[in-house]
């Protein structure tokens, strides 16, 4: 493996070393907030609470992906973020629809 961490941290965009650090640190903080969502996802009590927690977690993941894309200089991460955002939405709607017996949500 030739890519070391210091190489990965090289600023790929003309925004300087400092901004790169900001992106990576804030990505870590967003990740922490996402992990906090597991509390609600596990505790519930309703199915909707869990879906909600996973949905918030997903939104945070999208932001983390975007921040990493900018911080690590990997523009392709933004494509992943786009797909993730749409899938996250579909997940929330689909689970909402199929957990209800009467159906007809949306």
């Amino acid at each position: 493996m030739s890519t070391t961490i210091s190489q990965a941290l090289q600023p790929a965009f003309a925004t300087g070393e400092f901004i790169t650090q900001v992106f990576l640190v804030s990505a870590a903080l967003f990740m922490l907030l996402a992990i906090a969502m597991f509390y609600r996802a596990v505790k519930g009590p309703t199915t909707q609470d869990r879906v909600l927690a996973v949905n918030v977690l997903g939104t945070n993941t999208v932001v983390v992906l975007a921040l990493l894309g900018a911080g690590l200089g990997e523009p392709s991460l933004l494509d992943i973020a786009l797909v993730y955002a749409l899938l996250n939405f579909l997940m929330a709607v689909a689970i909402s629809k199929f957990t209800v017996e009467r159906g007809g949500v949306l």
Partner: protein, 118 residues
Amino acid sequence: MIETIRTVAIVGFILVGLFFTLVSATGVIRLPDVYSRAHTASQADTLGAGFALAGVALALGFSTTSFKTVLLLFFIFITNPTAAHAIARAADEEGIKPWTTDDDRTDADLYEEAMADE
């Protein structure tokens, strides 16, 4: 000079984004019932993500990648409230009653009641 302003703006956007996401996380953990939680999940979180993505778009400058970021921001603003609405509506369809201030039942009680009615 202009670079300094941009850096400050990026850091500012990301900090505001972090703050609102923190509010959203606090809300989802603290608030008493699924409807109230859906509020912060859809709104504070959308704004938090919006600010953070705006920071990213600003850092990337004028490029296809930053265009994608703006698109992502737009998607989140459309889909997040819709998802929250779908979740709240599913809760309503299940017969879960909203919690009110003078109510001494917990969210788990309200859930069990709704399940008992089925």
